[in-house]
């Protein structure tokens, strides 16, 4: 069963139509990868699901409910969290404040906090530091940790490996594998190796439309298809 | 603007502007009283001033509250030169150039300092700069005449006593009942210089520069990406607008033969300009004409009407106070807010978008 379905979603930014027709079924559980070239509409798709840009047509169905008209905050409360491309860290707040803000009631659930420390030990180390002083990888960890501090059904993650060192990318991949056991992850990624290692199902977006969707195993085996849909020269 | 290029609405607006132009051209003959000529001259000058403001707000989307300051620089330039050098054309030229020079220096300084920051910052900084100019004009009384301002004489051809044409008896000649005197020459000086400046601006926005400006207004990031240097263009337009405002200030100074903080620098004139450009329609140039005509006429004649209304409601609470002729800005303010909400394109823009494309 799908946890999220996009039906002919169309989104305009200003006077430019960015998404023309995005139709997508994200199954429950595991990592679903959305691939595509720069400017194809990956980020816009995530932001439209989150309600940060309102789709002008079509629908966004989350667990049977149309959320396309809802306010971002309400969408979040339904159990969707968002790790944006720029990580969306509050630099002037400490690591602790960044996380406590993300809790619904202003209190930590100790079990979840322990799990986060386990996934990202660096956050415990820099607990009282202001977040702007963290490294890029640590900020990315904080952003992901913030997305799972409350139980969520679906996490939207936008290019988490961008600009990170290989060692940190591996740690990140482990963390996502762990998180995907209990939560569905919709991952937007340019780094195909990273995406391939995580994804079960996938889709490719091109010029605001879904150009291909299927299992990651099939796509990884089909080199010509990859070249046609993802190579920069096309 | 390309959307509304050749609608019937556009024709209506252009015809109206043409009609206004014709009325202004023959104003001394059509409306033969001093007050009407005052109104006509004021309209001419404000059309230029408002159109130059439209270059900024309508074509680049930047809000400046310093426009009145540049108008003031031009006016004070003319006034001080005429006072110090005596009433001659040399004084007019020196004054105009001095006003333009000061305006350009200040515009470049403000532009480079603050056009790269947010629009909001720019609006706030220009507001602060304009208020300082007003304070300086009031305080440097040796130079500017302080609060009282400066009274001086215009070049002798503009004196009411000057006879442009004489009849057989040596009296000033009348054509269609209009005296051919210096006052008439002064009006046509205002009309022609204003017309030239306005026409130059219309040409400017029709040129490739106008296209670039629109591109920047529509999408700053995109324009930057295409390779337009947004800050340079904005500073350039800011300077052009300042230049025209300064020149129109000099013209106004010559017409009024008096320059003081209240007539050329006060914040209420800035509000007038803002109201005119928004009511007329931003980004059209024609809107400036319509806005200036409506507002100036309202200033001169609406107050009379409100006086009547205030007397009629004298027994009601508060209402007569709000209908007091001095409170006309209250009603304009409300109209202004409603316009920005419901007709952000103003009169000209709204009409131009109507009708079928032909």
């Amino acid at each position: 069963m799908s946890i999220l379905s996009l039906k002919a979603m169309k989104t305009d930014i200003g006077q430019y139509a960015v998404l023309h027709d995005v139709t997508l079924e994200v199954p429950q559980g595991g990592v679903f990868v959305l691939l595509g070239r720069n400017g194809a509409g990956k980020t816009t798709t995530l932001r439209s699901i989150m309600g940060l840009w309102k789709p002008s047509a079509g629908s966004v169905i989350f667990r049977g409910q149309d959320i396309s008209e809802m306010h971002t905050a309400e969408i979040a409360r339904l159990g969707i969290s968002f790790v944006p491309e720029d990580m969306g860290i509050f630099g002037g707040l400490t690591v602790e404040e960044n996380l406590i803000l993300a809790t619904a009631k202003g209190q930590f659930d100790n079990a979840r906090l322990a799990r986060i420390y386990e996934l990202f030990p660096a956050l415990e180390t820099f607990w009282t530091k202001q977040a702007w002083s963290l490294s890029g990888g640590q900020k990315q960890m904080l952003s992901v940790a913030r997305a799972i501090i409350e139980p969520r059904e679906l996490i939207l993650v936008d290019e988490p490996t961008k600009g990170l060192a290989p060692a940190i990318i591996d740690a990140m991949a482990d963390a996502f594998r762990e998180i995907a056991q209990t939560t569905t992850i919709l991952l937007v990624e340019q780094n195909f190796e990273f995406a391939k290692s995580l994804g079960r199902d996938m889709a490719v977006i091109d010029d605001g439309r879904i150009a291909h969707s299927g299992s990651m195993a099939d796509f990884a085996a089909d080199k010509p298809l990859q070249d046609r849909l993802l190579s920069l020269s096309a | 603007m390309s959307v509304s290029a050749n609608t019937t609405g556009t024709k209506v607006v252009k015809t109206t502007v043409l009609l206004i132009g014709a009325l202004l051209l023959f104003a001394p003959f059509l409306f033969q009283d001093t007050r009407a000529l005052e109104v006509a001259a004021r309209i001419c000058i404000f059309i230029v001033l408002v159109a130059s403001y439209d270059l900024l707000i309508g074509y680049t989307g930047i809000v400046s509250f310093a426009h009145i300051m540049f108008f003031g620089f031009g006016a004070y330039g003319g006034a001080i030169a005429l006072k110090q050098m005596g009433p001659g054309w040399d004084a007019v030229v020196v004054g105009a150039l001095a006003g333009v020079a000061v305006s350009l220096v200040v515009a470049v300084a403000i532009g480079l300092l603050s056009l790269r920051v947010k629009a909001i910052f720019f609006a706030m900084i220009t507001l602060a700069a304009a208020s300082v100019a007003l304070v300086l004009a009031s305080q440097l009384s040796n130079f500017t005449g302080g609060e009282d301002g400066i009274t001086y004489r215009a070049p002798s051809i503009f004196k009411t006593a000057t006879k442009l044409m004489v009849d057989d008896d040596g009296k000033v000649m009348r054509i269609f009942g209009v005296k051919m005197n210096g006052k008439l020459a002064a009006y046509y000086f205002v009309f022609i210089t204003s017309f030239v400046l306005f026409f130059a601006m219309v040409r400017l926005v029709g040129s490739p520069l106008g296209t670039v400006l629109k591109a920047i207004r529509e999408n700053e990031a995109r324009a930057e990406a295409i390779g337009y240097r947004v800050v340079s263009y904005r500073t350039f337009v800011f300077c052009i607008a300042a230049l025209v405002a300064s020149l129109s200030g000099t013209i106004y100074a010559i017409w009024l033969k008096y320059t003081g903080p209240d007539t050329v620098l006060s914040f209420s004139i800035m509000i007038d300009i803002l109201l005119m450009v928004v009511i007329g329609g931003m980004g059209t140039m024609w809107g400036a004409v319509i806005g200036a005509v409506l507002m100036v006429i309202a200033q001169y004649y609406l107050r009379d009407l409100m006086g009547v209304a205030a007397e009629a409601t004298a027994n009601l609470p508060l209402l007569p106070h709000l209908l007091d002729p001095d409170r006309w800005l209250f009603w304009l303010g409300i109209i202004f807010i409603l316009l920005v909400y419901f007709f952000p394109k103003g009169i000209a823009g709204t009409i131009m978008a109507k009708g079928e494309k032909s």
């Binding site: 306010h71 905050a73 979040a76 509050f90 707040l93 803000l101 | 707000i57 629009a119 509000i271 303010g333």
Partner: protein
């Protein structure tokens, strides 16, 4: 040079600027007793300006909304407080200090209540339709300012209005050969109290945490499940109430107020938030104190330059730090 920079940073960085200005002024003024009087006057003025400016800065930081009509709250606050005090002049003249305080309290309460109500109305009717559209925001709030100023003229007339001060805030006290006006000390203490309350709210409460986070990144706070727009109404009302309160205190300080008051203070408030950096109350306080001190020192040393000095101060600081002294982290 680098070591100097480090030492300065350790002791507070840009927060030391007012101290530096005060020290420079001490040298220029020469007479210690005049310097102390001017410094206290500057601090009191700074605190009042802080009240007027803090709301504007927070509102902008949180919602990217600049309210050019903010000065209307200041004017209304001043005139409402002055009217209440005039109505209760019997209490003010009384020797009973309790009646004095009650009158003052009622005057401030009226101004604050008005500020909150008007702030709510302003946010809902004037500003909400033009979120995210700076051009129309500037135009509409400017239009609202015109209407508000005309209403003040219609209600109170154009003539200057005398403000009655409570008996116990009149006069001055002496410390050595230094005279300190009671009202200045009062204004300073009140401003300081509000600053401390604001500071604690922002740094010690969950609402404050939300506001600080919202100033940095509104979208992200919403993506975490919080309605910033509802929080914003509250902040807007608070900011308007503080502006009205600032106006009320200012009325008592000036003792003679005209409808032009709002417009004059607006320029100062703008300069303060630009100097301080938009979105942070620490920055606003710093900017307000700088402007208050400069206005008093320059007013004493070179009276003609008083207003221009603030402008020059703003230009210099903008050249040095284009985002102001202490902007909120963005």
């Amino acid at each position: 040079m680098e070591t100097i920079t480090k030492i300065v940073t350790r002791f507070g960085g840009v927060s030391l600027l007012p101290v530096a200005v005060a020290l420079l002024a001490f040298v220029l003024i020469g007479a210690p007793s005049s310097w102390v009087t001017l410094t206290i006057a500057g601090l009191a003025m700074g605190m009042m300006i802080f009240l007027m400016a803090s709301g504007l800065s927070l509102v902008f930081g949180l919602m990217d909304v600049m309210n050019f009509g903010h000065s209307a709250f200041i004017s209304f606050g001043a005139f409402i407080a002055a009217s209440v005090l005039a109505g209760l002049s019997g209490w003010l003249g009384s020797d009973l200090i309790i009646l004095n305080i009650a009158a003052l309290f009622l005057a401030f309460a009226a101004a604050i209540l008005f500020g909150m109500a008007a702030g709510w109305f302003f946010e809902a009717v004037i500003i909400k339709p033009v979120y995210k559209d700076h051009l129309r925001q500037i135009l509409i709030t400017m239009g609202a300012l015109i209407v508000a100023e005309q209403m003040i003229l219609a209600l109170w007339g154009g003539a200057p209005m005398t403000v009655h001060r409570p008996q116990f805030l009149e006069g001055s006290f002496l410390i050595g050969d230094i005279t300190i006006e009671v009202y200045r000390a009062f204004a300073f203490m009140l401003g300081l109290a509000v600053y401390v309350a604001l500071y604690l709210t922002l740094n010690r409460t969950r609402i404050g945490l939300l506001i600080r986070a919202g100033v940095e990144n509104r979208e992200m706070v919403e993506a975490l499940g919080f309605r910033i727009d509802r929080l914003f109404v509250g902040v807007f009302m608070l900011g308007s109430a503080l502006a009205a309160m600032g106006g009320a205190i200012w009325a008592g300080y000036e003792t003679l107020i005209t409808p032009a008051l709002g417009g004059e203070m607006m320029i100062v408030v703008f300069i303060v938030v630009i100097i301080g950096g938009l979105g942070s109350i620490e920055g606003t306080l710093l900017g307000a104190i700088m402007v208050g001190l400069m206005a008093n020192y320059v007013g004493y040393l070179a009276p003609k330059l008083a207003l221009t000095s603030n402008m020059i101060l703003m230009m210099v600081i903008l050249l040095w730090r284009p985002n102001g002294l202490k902007p909120a982290v963005k």
